[in-house]
């Protein structure tokens, strides 16, 4: 009995241990929780070795997570020797096939010096996870409980491994997910950045677009304002020639309202009927060939207003640079005024040129600083210089008369220096030797920086010739006057001479008779001879006075006593005056200053005034024919001589004419006397004038300076100096 009980108690112990082991195994998953497969295997193997007193246990996992197979081996202390892991694996792979269902539950394998019992346990339902191999040298291996523990352990391991694997897989997935999230996040951040950038760019673009749009709009407004307020007419047409724009200036110029003409054909609106065909041809040609005769040019043509009136315009057509069918903008300007101004300018220029031509006057400008000289056309003609020639002083000097060249150059230099106005007369000599007289008048203009002379040059050659001719004529006239005067005075002269001659002849006749008597009356004869001599002297005096008056040709300057000169003239003409019943009264002031002049010329003037006075009274019978001649000192160191009559006088308006040559109030006069008299007095720097008396008649007066500075012997000898007096 004891054995039996002993056995029973062992059995119980064994079962208890088995239950404990079983519980340990069942507790393993709690340990494994959260662990990885290798951890599961290590703990499992350790537990199995310890529980079952195995000599060897190994586990091989086929594929955990797509990685290489894992083999873990636990060896107990084998007797005498320890087989290598490799040796075990080789033995296992020889006896185990791939299919776990074909595995034997137990196999015996010789290993080392002994035989071992090997139990393969598939992991997973069909060993898909791997295999656990438990081996022991014991022969009783595996007992029933051990087999149970092994299969439970394998199941537990399968579950643990599955879980670990799942966990691992989940972990991997989570990690992958995390990684993906991180990656995605990074991608998103990048994308976000890009978006931000893009957004910023877009905003920039939008802003720019907005600005451009605003600019465009502003530009449009500005353009519209320009178009609306433009002085020029601005008309826009589309590719078919229909009006699309018509600004206020155009409305004003053409007399249409914008609304009236928009959409109408340009040709029908502003092109005169006569030009419409041409316009349309040109437009058609342009559209067909792109060849335009008017584009980009300013052309002048005729336009028509709403009321049908035509007027000149200037037109500039530009193509609007937009895509699509061509359209055009025309800038039109009413140039009626300009045309008229141009015409007037042309006419004015023509007038000026003609006037310059007729008056032989050229004009010029001279910029002093640069010696830039501009000539009018007429000036080229006067100088006989080619129109294309550049005018320089060198060129001008080639035309100046050699004798006047130095004077001319002196004037130019003075003008350059002093910049005062210029009055100058000089001669030109043409290449053919012809001489021209020119008169230059110029005044300075412009500021000090750019002074410019503007002047005129007149060809006075003809006037010069006329003056010379006039001077000659005057000289001839005065000669005529003198001769005429001589003729008219013949009676007076004869009278004066005949008086003493008569005495001489009578005395001589008486003398002869006295001497012929018986006895001769010698005493009487002597008396008559004495009287003859006296009368002869008297006659000689008359002759010498006449010679003084008419005989001398050369004027001479001397100191003249006007009283004395007057008395001599009176002596000559008194008898004639008396015969004309003129009562002469003299008021010759004492101590009259002497005057410088030509005595004979002054006497001619006095004689002329006396004769005029006498003639003016020839028809006066109702009152004494009183003539008053007086001399007196005048203002400004002058001496005045006046002759007053009580004659018929003259019309007040005739005062100016009195002194003109050939003006006369007398039936027989030539009207030279006063004219010549005045020129004589003027040569003496004096003045001759006439004043109506308060009573009847006129007073003629002249006043001459006591000292005549300007009357040099040169000018006094001038052949042009008129001499003589009246021609009655």
């Amino acid at each position: 009995m004891e054995v039996q009980s002993e056995h029973a108690s062992g059995e119980i112990k064994h079962l208890q241990r088995c239950i404990n082991d079983l519980i340990s195994l069942l507790a393993l998953p709690a340990i494994w929780s959260g662990g990885d497969p290798s951890q599961v295997l290590h703990t499992l193997l350790d537990a199995l070795v310890r529980m079952l007193r195995l000599d060897l246990v190994s586990v091989r996992l086929t594929d955990l997570v797509g990685g290489a197979p894992v083999e873990i081996v636990r060896l107990a202390e084998l007797r005498g020797r320890v087989p290598s892991a490799h040796e075990i694996c080789e033995a296992l792979s020889q006896c185990l096939e791939d299919d776990s269902r074909k595995w034997p539950p137990l196999l015996r394998h010789l290993m080392g010096e002994g035989e071992v019992s090997i139990v393969p346990l598939p992991l997973g339902l069909q060993g898909e996870l791997g295999v656990i191999v438990a081996a022991a040298e014991r022969t009783d291996f595996p007992r029933q409980t051990e087999a149970l523990l092994l299969s439970v352990a394998a199941n537990q391991a399968s579950i643990g491994l599955q879980e670990a694997r799942l966990l691992s897989h989940q972990k991997r997935l989570a990690s992958e997910l995390d990684q993906r999230v991180v990656q995605r996040t990074a991608e998103l951040a990048t994308a976000n950045e890009e978006l931000k950038k893009e957004f910023a760019e877009r905003r920039l673009v939008e802003e720019r677009l907005g600005q451009e749009e605003r600019d465009l709009k502003r530009s449009e407004i500005r353009k519209a304002a320009i178009v609306d307020s433009a002085l020029d007419c601005i008309v826009t047409i589309d590719h078919e020639g229909y009006i699309t724009e018509f600004n206020p200036a155009a409305e004003h110029t053409f007399g249409y309202l914008r609304e009236e003409v928009l959409g109408k054909h340009l040709a029908d609106v502003i092109i005169p009927p006569s030009l419409r065909e041409k316009h349309e041809q040109g437009y058609a040609r342009y559209l067909a060939t792109g060849e335009a005769q008017v584009l980009g040019k300013r052309i002048e043509l005729t336009a028509v207003r709403a009321d049908g009136s035509e007027f000149p315009i200037e037109l500039a057509v530009t193509r609007i640079p937009l895509e699509g069918p061509p359209s055009f903008t025309g800038h039109l300007r009413d140039i009626t005024e300009r045309k008229r101004a141009e015409q007037e300018l042309r006419r004015s220029q023509a007038f000026l040129a003609e006037a310059q031509h007729l008056s032989r006057t050229g004009s010029f400008s001279w910029r002093v600083a640069t010696d830039e000289i501009t000539w009018s056309e007429q000036l080229y003609r006067i100088f006989q210089i080619d129109r294309d020639a550049r005018v320089t002083f060198e060129l001008i000097c080639t035309r100046i008369h050699p004798e006047d060249l130095s004077v001319f150059q002196e004037h130019i230099e003075r003008s350059r220096r002093d910049r005062t106005d210029v009055q100058l007369e000089f001669r030109l000599q043409m290449p053919d030797g012809a001489v021209k007289y020119v008169h230059v008048a110029a005044h300075i203009r412009g500021d000090h920086g750019q002074p410019e002379y503007i002047g005129a040059v007149q060809d006075v050659t003809e006037r010069r010739s006329s003056e010379e001719a006039l001077s000659k004529a005057r000289s001839e006239l005065s000669q005529v006057a003198r001769v005429t005067s001589l003729g008219v005075l013949t009676a007076s002269i004869a009278h004066e001479v005949n008086q003493p001659l008569s005495g001489i002849i009578t005395n001589a006749g008486t003398c002869l008779r006295m001497l012929a008597a018986d006895p001769p009356n010698v005493e009487g004869a002597r008396e008559t001879v004495r009287r003859t001599i006296r009368d002869g002297n008297r006659a000689a005096d008359v002759i010498s006075r006449l010679r003084a008056l008419y005989g001398k040709k050369e004027p001479t300057i001397e100191s003249v006593d006007l009283n004395e000169a007057t008395r001599e003239v009176l002596a000559l003409s008194l008898s004639e005056l008396q015969r004309n019943r003129v009562i002469v009264q003299q008021e010759l002031v004492d101590d009259l200053p002497l005057v410088a002049g030509d005595r004979v010329q002054l006497q001619q003037v006095i004689l002329n005034l006396l004769r005029n006075a006498s003639d003016a009274m020839s028809t006066i019978d109702d009152r004494p024919r009183d003539l008053l001649i007086r001399t007196e000192p005048d203002d400004d160191d002058r001496v005045r001589l006046s002759v007053s009559d009580v004659g018929i006088g003259f019309e007040p308006q005739a005062t100016d004419k009195l002194f003109e040559a050939f003006y006369t109030t007398k039936d027989e006069g030539m009207g030279i006397g006063l004219s010549v008299s005045r020129s004589i007095i003027e040569r003496h720097h004096g003045r001759l004038w006439a004043m109506p008396n308060s009573g009847p008649g006129v007073t003629f007066s002249f006043s001459v300076p006591c000292k005549v500075e300007g009357l040099t012997s040169d000018s006094a000898r001038d052949s042009r100096t008129p001499s003589v007096s009246d021609a009655a």
Binding site: Q499, S502, T506
Partner: protein
């Protein structure tokens, strides 16, 4: 008035001379005396008109142009007074055109100075012996 009475010829006819020229007044009376006439001279017409000679003169030698009353004026004056004295005009003027008119108006002669003694005698004779 100058009156020259020739003692030898008390009966000599009186000739009056009116002239403003002194030479004439001095020279003519001597010549007239040689020719057998008595002479009295006056320097102007007015003087003559106031003198006694107005009635006595058988002939008047009269200058044409004189200050104041001229020769023809005196002629008219004498005619108005009824004094029919033969008049011989003398003149220094060379204007011959005056002569026919003067003769027409009754003058015996018109002599232009200077004239000869015979021309004067001839004129006086004509005055004393009218046709």
């Amino acid at each position: 008035m100058e009156l020259r009475q020739e003692r030898r010829a008390v009966e000599r006819p009186l000739v009056s001379v009116v002239d403003d020229d002194e030479s004439v007044r001095e020279s003519l009376p001597d010549l007239l005396g040689e020719l057998g006439f008595a002479a009295c001279t006056f320097s102007c017409a007015e003087e003559f008109l106031e003198s006694d000679c107005l009635d006595q003169a058988r002939c008047l030698i009269l200058d044409i142009a004189m200050p104041g009353m001229s020769g023809p004026d005196l002629q008219r004056e004498l005619k108005l007074r009824g004094q029919e004295i033969p008049i011989i005009f003398i003149t220094a003027s060379t204007d011959k055109s005056a002569r026919p008119r003067l003769l027409e108006q009754g003058a015996v002669e018109c002599l232009f100075k200077p004239f000869s003694d015979t021309a004067l005698l001839k004129a006086i004779n004509k005055a004393f012996h009218p046709k």
